[in-house]
Symmetry: C2
Subunit: 338 residues, 2 copies
């Protein structure tokens, strides 16, 4: 059973309810009961009208408002009533509720927000996309495992290629923290790392090109890069439509190319993926984009279901432990943890 927080989506709780119904997945839905009539036969409803908004201080709001839908939904996952969490609410609130209730995986420094990039070729995962504006090398190393295990479990990539985002391909390019993370990842690769293949540094150029399966970076750079990519696509699309609207011949041409352009747009449609994933927690947590309609919400719920069924969290824990990259004070290998 997937816990779904129905509050906070731009199109309101009813759009989330429609997404629940569309997903066909068993769900426990938290939100204002009167808006959740159309959740479908496989959903149970918990009346939880209280919303934590994007303009509130998330940790404070989560602590002081246990009745909020996102807190109740996270609680249901923490208690084992549900197996994963999906919300289209404010990212900060979801992150705070997940951290405080569901909690980090043992030995994980920081959960990361991962996003499947709208690339044209195969999917590329970018993390961190904004959960941690400052990171240390050991965080970046863990992100490589978090991202690789997601791509294995949920996207069927057997041995993901992991790239470290920097300002040049050469291993000497980057900030001191990036150089140190590169050194550690290269060391692990030489030691015969099985979870992923370390590709070395990648550049901004590589994000839309799907050079690797996972791009690891800090949450500041990742957030900026993601937004630049989204906005460049949107602005270019807008400019093309404007140009096509001028003159008669281009307009006729525009009609004729409309179908191929639509196909292209569908290929890069974020609703197909289901949103961002919070990795490094004890249960799968999906942050659907606030703008998603029922299609996107259904994708998010199915993604959560897949993460549970494919044991994403268990695989991640095992990979981190086997690699000996857990936070110090926590067993450094599977053997030690037993």
């Amino acid at each position: 059973m997937i816990a779904v927080d129905a509050n906070g989506a731009d199109r309101g709780p009813a759009a989330v309810a429609a997404g629940v119904a569309r997903s066909g997945v068993e769900a426990l839905v938290f939100g204002p009961r009167e808006a959740l009539a159309e959740c479908g036969p496989r959903a149970e409803i918990v009346h939880a009208p209280t919303l934590i908004g994007g303009d509130e201080e998330p940790a404070l709001a989560v602590r002081s408002r246990p009745e909020a839908s996102i807190v109740q939904a996270a609680e249901a996952v923490a208690e084992g009533r549900c197996e994963a969490l999906v919300s289209a609410g404010a990212t900060g609130a979801v992150l705070a509720a997940a951290l405080l209730r569901i909690k980090r995986l043992r030995g994980v420094h920081r959960p990361a927000l991962a996003v499947v990039l709208p690339t044209l070729e195969r999917p590329t995962l970018l993390l961190d996309a904004g959960a941690n504006v400052e990171v240390r090398p050991e965080h970046l190393v863990q992100f490589a495992y978090l991202g690789a295990c997601f791509m294995q479990a949920c996207m069927g990539v057997e041995r993901p290629r992991v790239g470290l985002l920097s300002v040049g391909e050469e291993r000497a390019k980057g900030t001191p923290d990036v150089l140190e993370a590169h050194r550690r990842l290269a060391e692990r690769a030489e030691a015969g790392e099985r979870t992923f293949e370390f590709h070395g540094n990648v550049e901004g150029f590589d994000l839309p090109r799907a050079t690797v399966d996972v791009v690891v970076t800090d949450g500041f750079t990742g957030n900026v890069a993601l937004k630049v990519m989204e906005s460049t696509s949107a602005e270019l699309g807008r400019a093309i439509r404007q140009q096509l609207a001028r003159g008669v011949l281009p307009r006729v041409g525009g009609l004729l190319v409309r179908a191929p352009l639509r196909r292209l747009r569908e290929r890069i449609d974020p609703e197909r993926i289901g949103g961002a994933i919070l990795l490094g927690l004890r249960k799968p947590v999906i942050v659907a984009h606030g703008s998603f309609g029922p299609v996107g919400i259904a994708s998010a719920i199915r993604l959560a279901r897949r993460a549970v069924d494919e044991q994403m969290v268990e695989r991640t824990a095992a990979a981190l432990a086997a690699a000996g990259v857990l936070r110090s004070g926590v067993g450094g290998s599977v053997a030690q943890q037993r």
Copy 2:
């Protein structure tokens, strides 16, 4: 007279020579004499066949090879024989030669690499685009002045709007260094800053949207953002052409929309701008893109000419001094400097 380093461009010194001729600007051209026959009537040639490549350690190469064309060209500027430097060679080598020979403006912490973004609306300057992978708040504050004075002098923007790149618009969003830079810039704005208007934080979304005239960031984030933007445009353009090539009707449509798409491409053509600008040095330095042909090289040379004629460097020095944001140990105001 503009010093032009003809070595290092992808299309070879002859393409640079053609750009010199096309510019119509007086130039002193450094490169292999045999390839520079077509520099036009307003150019003098200095035979300097030695190239510093992109794979060399720049500072070391500049120090040990004074005969290299980029070093001789920078020297000509340092000695006052030329007023500005243009090169299509490796950015690192140009930066090293400029730092070692032309030198920083008095009181400037770090020169920054600035790039006019290929936005569709009015031009937006991004800096730092890669000269400094790590920066402190005082560097970011200086970048605001460097960028604003360039936009004033070379792009005719009377009072540029400056944004600080972060992960959210709210002033509490960002790394500690970004928050501190925000605080200082806001303080200057409240004190009646005349050189620019501080817009506050901008996000990755804003880069292609021309929300502000100048976007200030560290060289790591700026480099990644610029490359993501370039690559997203290129990949999307490629995908559109692929889609249009399928089927007969779309192909006919494709023919009809070819002209408007070409007009669009021309509007975002980086060769129109002339390349990246190294700001914070004692003379204007332009790094033309390695891929530029004669059109781009000519734009770069004209941009250098404009920076000289419009006294970009002198305006920058005056603005930094008036604002009291010079490196400590250097006079903090114009009055003190006299």
